[in-house]
Symmetry: C2
Subunit: 196 residues, 2 copies
DNA sequence: ATCATAAGCGGACTTTACCCCGCTTAAATT
DNA sequence: AATTTAAGCGGGGTAAAGTCCGCTTATGAT
Protein backbone atom coordinates (compact mmCIF):
# COMPACT_ATOMS: atom_id res chain seq x y z
CA UNK A 1 0.00 0.00 0.00
CA UNK A 2 1.38 3.43 -0.87
CA UNK A 3 1.95 5.73 2.04
CA UNK A 4 -0.40 8.61 1.25
CA UNK A 5 -2.27 10.49 3.91
CA UNK A 6 -3.18 8.89 7.24
CA UNK A 7 -5.74 6.54 5.66
CA UNK A 8 -8.90 6.95 3.64
CA UNK A 9 -12.17 6.98 5.53
CA UNK A 10 -13.64 3.57 6.10
CA UNK A 11 -16.70 2.69 4.02
CA UNK A 12 -19.10 2.37 6.95
CA UNK A 13 -17.86 5.66 8.35
CA UNK A 14 -18.46 7.44 5.06
CA UNK A 15 -21.92 5.93 4.86
CA UNK A 16 -22.74 7.10 8.36
CA UNK A 17 -21.48 10.60 7.63
CA UNK A 18 -23.75 10.93 4.64
CA UNK A 19 -26.64 9.48 6.53
CA UNK A 20 -26.13 11.86 9.44
CA UNK A 21 -25.96 14.86 7.14
CA UNK A 22 -29.16 13.79 5.47
CA UNK A 23 -30.97 13.27 8.75
CA UNK A 24 -29.66 16.61 9.96
CA UNK A 25 -31.10 18.32 6.89
CA UNK A 26 -34.45 16.75 7.58
CA UNK A 27 -34.45 17.74 11.21
CA UNK A 28 -33.49 21.31 10.37
CA UNK A 29 -36.34 21.41 7.91
CA UNK A 30 -38.79 20.08 10.46
CA UNK A 31 -37.69 21.63 13.72
CA UNK A 32 -35.40 24.51 12.86
CA UNK A 33 -31.66 24.42 13.32
CA UNK A 34 -31.62 25.50 16.94
CA UNK A 35 -33.81 22.59 17.97
CA UNK A 36 -31.46 19.97 16.57
CA UNK A 37 -29.64 18.25 19.41
CA UNK A 38 -26.86 15.72 19.24
CA UNK A 39 -28.88 13.15 21.16
CA UNK A 40 -31.86 13.70 18.94
CA UNK A 41 -29.82 13.43 15.80
CA UNK A 42 -28.10 10.25 16.95
CA UNK A 43 -31.38 8.65 17.99
CA UNK A 44 -33.15 9.48 14.79
CA UNK A 45 -30.23 8.30 12.71
CA UNK A 46 -30.16 5.07 14.70
CA UNK A 47 -26.56 5.64 15.79
CA UNK A 48 -24.76 6.27 19.03
CA UNK A 49 -23.93 9.74 20.22
CA UNK A 50 -20.26 8.93 20.24
CA UNK A 51 -20.43 8.28 16.52
CA UNK A 52 -21.91 11.66 15.82
CA UNK A 53 -19.16 13.38 17.73
CA UNK A 54 -16.50 11.26 16.14
CA UNK A 55 -17.71 12.32 12.70
CA UNK A 56 -18.17 16.01 13.31
CA UNK A 57 -16.26 16.94 16.41
CA UNK A 58 -18.80 19.40 17.75
CA UNK A 59 -22.36 20.42 17.21
CA UNK A 60 -21.16 23.39 15.22
CA UNK A 61 -19.17 20.99 13.08
CA UNK A 62 -22.29 19.42 11.66
CA UNK A 63 -23.67 22.71 10.50
CA UNK A 64 -20.31 23.69 9.15
CA UNK A 65 -20.26 20.50 7.12
CA UNK A 66 -23.73 21.17 5.74
CA UNK A 67 -22.75 24.70 4.89
CA UNK A 68 -19.62 23.47 3.24
CA UNK A 69 -21.58 21.37 0.81
CA UNK A 70 -23.77 24.32 -0.16
CA UNK A 71 -20.71 26.49 -0.35
CA UNK A 72 -19.13 24.23 -2.93
CA UNK A 73 -22.14 24.63 -5.17
CA UNK A 74 -22.11 28.38 -4.70
CA UNK A 75 -18.42 28.67 -5.49
CA UNK A 76 -18.91 26.55 -8.56
CA UNK A 77 -21.30 29.15 -9.91
CA UNK A 78 -18.84 31.91 -9.09
CA UNK A 79 -15.89 30.16 -10.70
CA UNK A 80 -17.39 28.79 -13.84
CA UNK A 81 -21.00 29.84 -14.17
CA UNK A 82 -22.36 32.45 -16.56
CA UNK A 83 -21.43 36.15 -16.28
CA UNK A 84 -21.64 38.53 -14.56
CA UNK A 85 -20.98 36.17 -11.64
CA UNK A 86 -18.76 33.82 -13.58
CA UNK A 87 -15.84 34.69 -15.85
CA UNK A 88 -16.48 36.86 -18.89
CA UNK A 89 -17.51 40.12 -17.23
CA UNK A 90 -15.28 42.94 -16.01
CA UNK A 91 -13.68 42.25 -12.63
CA UNK A 92 -15.54 45.07 -10.92
CA UNK A 93 -18.86 43.82 -12.21
CA UNK A 94 -18.01 40.35 -11.08
CA UNK A 95 -17.15 41.67 -7.64
CA UNK A 96 -20.47 43.43 -7.41
CA UNK A 97 -22.36 40.39 -8.61
CA UNK A 98 -20.47 38.21 -6.18
CA UNK A 99 -21.40 40.37 -3.23
CA UNK A 100 -25.03 40.40 -4.17
CA UNK A 101 -25.20 36.67 -4.72
CA UNK A 102 -23.37 36.13 -1.48
CA UNK A 103 -25.80 38.28 0.46
CA UNK A 104 -28.67 36.20 -0.86
CA UNK A 105 -26.85 33.02 0.01
CA UNK A 106 -26.26 34.14 3.58
CA UNK A 107 -29.83 35.26 4.07
CA UNK A 108 -31.08 31.92 2.82
CA UNK A 109 -28.80 29.99 5.13
CA UNK A 110 -28.83 32.28 8.11
CA UNK A 111 -30.11 29.71 10.57
CA UNK A 112 -27.43 27.24 9.62
CA UNK A 113 -24.73 29.88 9.63
CA UNK A 114 -25.76 30.88 13.11
CA UNK A 115 -25.53 27.30 14.30
CA UNK A 116 -22.19 26.78 12.62
CA UNK A 117 -20.53 29.73 14.31
CA UNK A 118 -19.67 28.82 17.81
CA UNK A 119 -16.64 29.16 19.97
CA UNK A 120 -14.35 26.11 19.99
CA UNK A 121 -15.22 24.33 16.79
CA UNK A 122 -12.09 22.52 15.69
CA UNK A 123 -12.42 23.45 12.05
CA UNK A 124 -9.26 22.73 10.05
CA UNK A 125 -9.14 26.52 10.10
CA UNK A 126 -6.15 26.71 7.78
CA UNK A 127 -8.69 27.43 5.07
CA UNK A 128 -8.83 31.23 4.76
CA UNK A 129 -12.38 31.20 3.40
CA UNK A 130 -13.18 30.77 -0.24
CA UNK A 131 -15.03 34.05 -0.27
CA UNK A 132 -11.92 35.89 0.76
CA UNK A 133 -9.83 34.17 -1.86
CA UNK A 134 -12.35 34.90 -4.53
CA UNK A 135 -12.56 38.56 -3.60
CA UNK A 136 -8.80 38.73 -3.48
CA UNK A 137 -8.54 37.26 -6.95
CA UNK A 138 -11.02 39.73 -8.40
CA UNK A 139 -9.34 42.62 -6.64
CA UNK A 140 -6.02 41.62 -8.13
CA UNK A 141 -7.64 41.96 -11.54
CA UNK A 142 -9.46 45.19 -10.73
CA UNK A 143 -6.33 46.89 -9.34
CA UNK A 144 -7.86 49.44 -6.98
CA UNK A 145 -5.53 52.22 -5.72
CA UNK A 146 -4.82 50.54 -2.39
CA UNK A 147 -1.54 49.31 -0.99
CA UNK A 148 -2.38 46.02 0.69
CA UNK A 149 -4.84 43.92 -1.28
CA UNK A 150 -4.56 41.13 1.25
CA UNK A 151 -6.00 43.26 4.01
CA UNK A 152 -8.51 44.94 1.75
CA UNK A 153 -9.81 41.52 0.78
CA UNK A 154 -10.17 40.62 4.43
CA UNK A 155 -12.01 43.83 5.16
CA UNK A 156 -14.34 43.52 2.23
CA UNK A 157 -15.08 39.96 3.20
CA UNK A 158 -15.89 41.23 6.64
CA UNK A 159 -18.03 44.04 5.26
CA UNK A 160 -19.99 41.40 3.41
CA UNK A 161 -20.26 38.69 6.02
CA UNK A 162 -19.74 40.79 9.13
CA UNK A 163 -23.22 42.28 9.21
CA UNK A 164 -24.57 38.77 9.33
CA UNK A 165 -22.28 37.81 12.12
CA UNK A 166 -23.15 40.94 14.00
CA UNK A 167 -26.71 40.03 13.42
CA UNK A 168 -26.12 36.62 14.93
CA UNK A 169 -25.73 38.14 18.37
CA UNK A 170 -29.21 39.50 18.25
CA UNK A 171 -31.79 36.86 17.54
CA UNK A 172 -34.56 37.30 15.05
CA UNK A 173 -35.23 36.90 11.35
CA UNK A 174 -33.54 38.83 8.58
CA UNK A 175 -35.90 40.39 6.09
CA UNK A 176 -35.50 40.95 2.37
CA UNK A 177 -35.24 44.68 2.88
CA UNK A 178 -32.02 44.21 4.81
CA UNK A 179 -30.63 41.97 2.09
CA UNK A 180 -31.45 44.55 -0.56
CA UNK A 181 -29.90 47.36 1.43
CA UNK A 182 -26.79 45.30 1.86
CA UNK A 183 -26.58 44.49 -1.82
CA UNK A 184 -26.91 48.13 -2.78
CA UNK A 185 -24.40 49.14 -0.17
CA UNK A 186 -21.95 46.58 -1.43
CA UNK A 187 -22.20 48.05 -4.91
CA UNK A 188 -21.50 51.54 -3.60
CA UNK A 189 -18.61 50.29 -1.55
CA UNK A 190 -16.95 48.53 -4.47
CA UNK A 191 -17.53 51.51 -6.72
CA UNK A 192 -16.01 53.86 -4.18
CA UNK A 193 -12.97 51.68 -3.58
CA UNK A 194 -12.25 50.56 -7.13
CA UNK A 195 -13.06 53.52 -9.39
CA UNK A 196 -10.49 56.29 -9.64
CA UNK B 1 -44.53 57.64 43.84
CA UNK B 2 -44.20 58.93 40.27
CA UNK B 3 -44.79 56.37 37.57
CA UNK B 4 -41.43 56.29 35.80
CA UNK B 5 -39.93 53.11 34.45
CA UNK B 6 -40.66 49.67 35.92
CA UNK B 7 -38.79 50.36 39.16
CA UNK B 8 -35.23 51.22 40.11
CA UNK B 9 -32.96 48.35 41.03
CA UNK B 10 -33.06 47.41 44.66
CA UNK B 11 -30.03 48.38 46.74
CA UNK B 12 -28.96 44.82 47.56
CA UNK B 13 -29.32 43.81 43.94
CA UNK B 14 -27.12 46.66 42.80
CA UNK B 15 -24.54 45.73 45.40
CA UNK B 16 -24.54 42.13 44.26
CA UNK B 17 -24.19 43.15 40.62
CA UNK B 18 -21.09 45.19 41.35
CA UNK B 19 -19.67 42.47 43.51
CA UNK B 20 -20.23 39.84 40.83
CA UNK B 21 -18.62 41.96 38.15
CA UNK B 22 -15.61 42.50 40.38
CA UNK B 23 -15.26 38.81 41.16
CA UNK B 24 -15.66 38.01 37.48
CA UNK B 25 -12.82 40.37 36.65
CA UNK B 26 -10.62 38.63 39.18
CA UNK B 27 -11.46 35.19 37.88
CA UNK B 28 -10.81 36.20 34.29
CA UNK B 29 -7.47 37.56 35.37
CA UNK B 30 -6.60 34.36 37.21
CA UNK B 31 -8.10 31.62 35.08
CA UNK B 32 -8.87 33.12 31.71
CA UNK B 33 -12.35 33.95 30.50
CA UNK B 34 -13.21 30.53 29.15
CA UNK B 35 -12.60 28.90 32.51
CA UNK B 36 -15.09 31.08 34.33
CA UNK B 37 -18.19 29.03 35.08
CA UNK B 38 -21.44 30.22 36.56
CA UNK B 39 -21.17 27.83 39.49
CA UNK B 40 -17.63 28.90 40.15
CA UNK B 41 -18.51 32.55 40.01
CA UNK B 42 -21.48 32.14 42.31
CA UNK B 43 -19.47 30.12 44.81
CA UNK B 44 -16.59 32.51 44.90
CA UNK B 45 -18.91 35.48 45.23
CA UNK B 46 -20.71 33.74 48.08
CA UNK B 47 -24.04 33.91 46.27
CA UNK B 48 -26.49 31.45 44.77
CA UNK B 49 -26.35 30.43 41.16
CA UNK B 50 -29.86 31.69 40.62
CA UNK B 51 -28.78 35.15 41.66
CA UNK B 52 -26.07 35.25 39.04
CA UNK B 53 -28.53 34.34 36.33
CA UNK B 54 -31.10 36.77 37.59
CA UNK B 55 -28.56 39.59 37.31
CA UNK B 56 -27.10 38.78 33.93
CA UNK B 57 -29.48 36.49 32.14
CA UNK B 58 -26.86 34.32 30.53
CA UNK B 59 -23.22 33.56 30.80
CA UNK B 60 -22.58 35.77 27.80
CA UNK B 61 -24.44 38.53 29.62
CA UNK B 62 -21.75 38.82 32.25
CA UNK B 63 -19.04 39.36 29.72
CA UNK B 64 -21.23 41.75 27.81
CA UNK B 65 -21.69 43.76 30.99
CA UNK B 66 -17.96 43.86 31.62
CA UNK B 67 -17.36 44.91 28.07
CA UNK B 68 -20.00 47.55 28.36
CA UNK B 69 -18.19 49.20 31.22
CA UNK B 70 -14.95 49.32 29.24
CA UNK B 71 -16.87 50.49 26.23
CA UNK B 72 -18.18 53.50 28.10
CA UNK B 73 -14.66 54.58 28.92
CA UNK B 74 -13.59 54.09 25.34
CA UNK B 75 -16.49 56.06 23.94
CA UNK B 76 -15.79 58.81 26.41
CA UNK B 77 -12.35 59.25 24.88
CA UNK B 78 -13.86 59.25 21.40
CA UNK B 79 -16.53 61.79 22.24
CA UNK B 80 -14.68 64.27 24.35
CA UNK B 81 -11.02 63.34 24.55
CA UNK B 82 -8.16 65.11 22.80
CA UNK B 83 -7.81 65.08 18.97
CA UNK B 84 -7.38 63.34 16.65
CA UNK B 85 -9.70 60.86 18.35
CA UNK B 86 -11.83 63.48 20.04
CA UNK B 87 -13.37 66.60 18.48
CA UNK B 88 -11.09 69.19 16.97
CA UNK B 89 -9.61 67.23 14.07
CA UNK B 90 -11.01 66.81 10.58
CA UNK B 91 -13.77 64.16 10.34
CA UNK B 92 -11.72 61.88 8.14
CA UNK B 93 -8.79 61.99 10.51
CA UNK B 94 -11.10 61.26 13.40
CA UNK B 95 -12.51 58.30 11.53
CA UNK B 96 -9.05 56.92 10.94
CA UNK B 97 -8.03 57.47 14.52
CA UNK B 98 -11.23 55.87 15.71
CA UNK B 99 -10.62 52.72 13.71
CA UNK B 100 -7.10 52.40 14.94
CA UNK B 101 -8.04 52.92 18.56
CA UNK B 102 -10.88 50.51 18.15
CA UNK B 103 -8.64 47.80 16.73
CA UNK B 104 -6.38 48.12 19.74
CA UNK B 105 -9.35 47.97 22.06
CA UNK B 106 -10.65 44.79 20.47
CA UNK B 107 -7.27 43.09 20.53
CA UNK B 108 -6.90 43.92 24.20
CA UNK B 109 -10.31 42.55 25.05
CA UNK B 110 -10.46 39.66 22.63
CA UNK B 111 -10.99 36.98 25.25
CA UNK B 112 -13.91 38.83 26.77
CA UNK B 113 -15.39 39.68 23.40
CA UNK B 114 -15.26 36.04 22.47
CA UNK B 115 -17.05 35.07 25.65
CA UNK B 116 -19.64 37.80 25.20
CA UNK B 117 -20.64 36.71 21.71
CA UNK B 118 -22.87 33.73 21.96
CA UNK B 119 -26.09 32.70 20.38
CA UNK B 120 -29.20 33.59 22.37
CA UNK B 121 -28.01 36.36 24.61
CA UNK B 122 -31.01 38.57 25.26
CA UNK B 123 -29.36 41.88 24.45
CA UNK B 124 -31.88 44.75 24.39
CA UNK B 125 -30.95 44.60 20.70
CA UNK B 126 -32.53 47.94 19.92
CA UNK B 127 -29.12 49.43 20.60
CA UNK B 128 -27.39 49.64 17.21
CA UNK B 129 -23.89 49.71 18.68
CA UNK B 130 -22.13 52.86 19.72
CA UNK B 131 -19.37 52.21 17.23
CA UNK B 132 -21.81 52.26 14.38
CA UNK B 133 -23.39 55.46 15.59
CA UNK B 134 -20.05 57.10 16.00
CA UNK B 135 -18.93 56.10 12.54
CA UNK B 136 -22.22 57.26 11.13
CA UNK B 137 -21.83 60.64 12.77
CA UNK B 138 -18.32 61.13 11.42
CA UNK B 139 -19.40 59.98 7.98
CA UNK B 140 -22.18 62.53 7.98
CA UNK B 141 -19.53 65.19 8.54
CA UNK B 142 -17.10 63.77 6.00
CA UNK B 143 -19.71 63.50 3.26
CA UNK B 144 -18.30 60.70 1.13
CA UNK B 145 -19.80 60.26 -2.38
CA UNK B 146 -22.09 57.41 -1.37
CA UNK B 147 -25.86 57.21 -1.42
CA UNK B 148 -26.77 55.38 1.76
CA UNK B 149 -24.68 56.46 4.74
CA UNK B 150 -26.71 54.24 7.00
CA UNK B 151 -25.59 51.11 5.21
CA UNK B 152 -22.06 52.36 4.67
CA UNK B 153 -21.76 52.88 8.41
CA UNK B 154 -22.94 49.34 8.99
CA UNK B 155 -20.45 47.97 6.50
CA UNK B 156 -17.55 49.94 7.85
CA UNK B 157 -18.42 48.84 11.33
CA UNK B 158 -18.40 45.31 10.06
CA UNK B 159 -15.10 45.84 8.25
CA UNK B 160 -13.67 46.96 11.55
CA UNK B 161 -15.20 44.47 13.94
CA UNK B 162 -15.95 41.69 11.49
CA UNK B 163 -12.40 40.39 11.24
CA UNK B 164 -12.43 39.87 14.97
CA UNK B 165 -15.71 38.06 14.85
CA UNK B 166 -14.46 35.93 12.00
CA UNK B 167 -11.44 35.29 14.09
CA UNK B 168 -13.57 34.17 16.99
CA UNK B 169 -14.53 31.00 15.18
CA UNK B 170 -10.95 29.89 15.02
CA UNK B 171 -9.33 29.75 18.44
CA UNK B 172 -5.93 31.16 19.18
CA UNK B 173 -4.32 34.45 20.13
CA UNK B 174 -4.24 37.55 17.99
CA UNK B 175 -0.84 39.07 17.49
CA UNK B 176 0.19 42.68 17.19
CA UNK B 177 1.07 42.23 13.53
CA UNK B 178 -2.53 41.51 12.71
CA UNK B 179 -3.66 44.56 14.64
CA UNK B 180 -1.20 46.75 12.76
CA UNK B 181 -2.24 45.38 9.40
CA UNK B 182 -5.82 46.05 10.28
CA UNK B 183 -5.10 49.59 11.35
CA UNK B 184 -3.26 50.32 8.13
CA UNK B 185 -5.98 48.70 6.09
CA UNK B 186 -8.60 50.76 7.84
CA UNK B 187 -6.77 53.93 6.90
CA UNK B 188 -6.61 52.87 3.24
CA UNK B 189 -10.26 51.95 3.27
CA UNK B 190 -11.37 55.28 4.68
CA UNK B 191 -9.12 57.16 2.29
CA UNK B 192 -10.48 55.24 -0.66
CA UNK B 193 -14.10 55.76 0.33
CA UNK B 194 -13.96 59.36 1.49
CA UNK B 195 -11.51 61.17 -0.76
CA UNK B 196 -12.80 62.28 -4.16
C1' DA C 1 -10.00 -18.10 4.11
C1' DT C 2 -7.84 -16.51 8.05
C1' DC C 3 -5.53 -13.12 10.82
C1' DA C 4 -4.05 -8.81 12.82
C1' DT C 5 -4.99 -4.29 13.77
C1' DA C 6 -6.43 0.14 13.57
C1' DA C 7 -10.60 2.51 12.95
C1' DG C 8 -15.19 2.75 14.14
C1' DC C 9 -18.96 2.36 17.40
C1' DG C 10 -22.08 2.97 21.48
C1' DG C 11 -23.80 4.60 25.48
C1' DA C 12 -22.83 5.59 30.28
C1' DC C 13 -20.67 9.46 32.58
C1' DT C 14 -19.29 14.28 33.50
C1' DT C 15 -19.75 19.09 33.13
C1' DT C 16 -22.10 23.25 32.64
C1' DA C 17 -25.61 26.52 31.26
C1' DC C 18 -30.02 27.57 32.45
C1' DC C 19 -34.87 26.92 34.88
C1' DC C 20 -38.05 26.83 38.78
C1' DC C 21 -40.31 28.00 42.80
C1' DG C 22 -40.82 28.48 47.75
C1' DC C 23 -38.67 31.46 51.16
C1' DT C 24 -36.72 36.05 52.49
C1' DT C 25 -36.31 40.95 52.59
C1' DA C 26 -36.01 45.87 50.92
C1' DA C 27 -38.67 49.63 50.72
C1' DA C 28 -42.98 52.14 49.84
C1' DT C 29 -47.38 53.12 52.44
C1' DT C 30 -50.17 53.77 56.51
C1' DA D 1 -43.63 50.97 63.82
C1' DA D 2 -46.29 47.85 61.45
C1' DT D 3 -47.96 46.21 57.03
C1' DT D 4 -47.78 44.90 52.41
C1' DT D 5 -45.88 43.37 48.21
C1' DA D 6 -43.01 42.86 44.58
C1' DA D 7 -38.30 42.04 43.90
C1' DG D 8 -34.52 39.37 45.20
C1' DC D 9 -32.43 35.08 46.63
C1' DG D 10 -30.83 30.14 46.77
C1' DG D 11 -29.89 25.77 45.43
C1' DG D 12 -31.74 21.53 43.65
C1' DG D 13 -33.34 19.93 39.00
C1' DT D 14 -33.09 19.44 33.87
C1' DA D 15 -31.13 19.23 29.31
C1' DA D 16 -27.66 19.11 26.22
C1' DA D 17 -22.60 19.19 24.82
C1' DG D 18 -18.70 16.69 24.97
C1' DT D 19 -15.50 12.66 26.92
C1' DC D 20 -14.07 7.84 27.74
C1' DC D 21 -13.15 3.28 27.05
C1' DG D 22 -14.21 -1.50 26.20
C1' DC D 23 -16.35 -4.01 22.39
C1' DT D 24 -17.01 -4.70 17.28
C1' DT D 25 -15.73 -4.80 12.47
C1' DA D 26 -13.80 -3.33 7.99
C1' DT D 27 -9.82 -3.91 5.52
C1' DG D 28 -5.37 -5.08 3.88
C1' DA D 29 -1.81 -8.79 4.34
C1' DT D 30 -0.51 -13.60 4.59
Amino acid sequence: MPFGRPRPERADAARNREHLLQVAREMIEELGAEKVTMDGLADRAGLGKGTVFRRFGTRAGIFAALLDAEEKIFQQAAMSGPPPLGPGAAPIDRLIAYGQARATFLVDHLAVVRAAVDRNNPIPSGVPSLTRLHIHMLLAQARPPVADLEVLALQLTAALEGPFLLYLSTAGPLDDAAATALSDGWKSLIDAVCRP
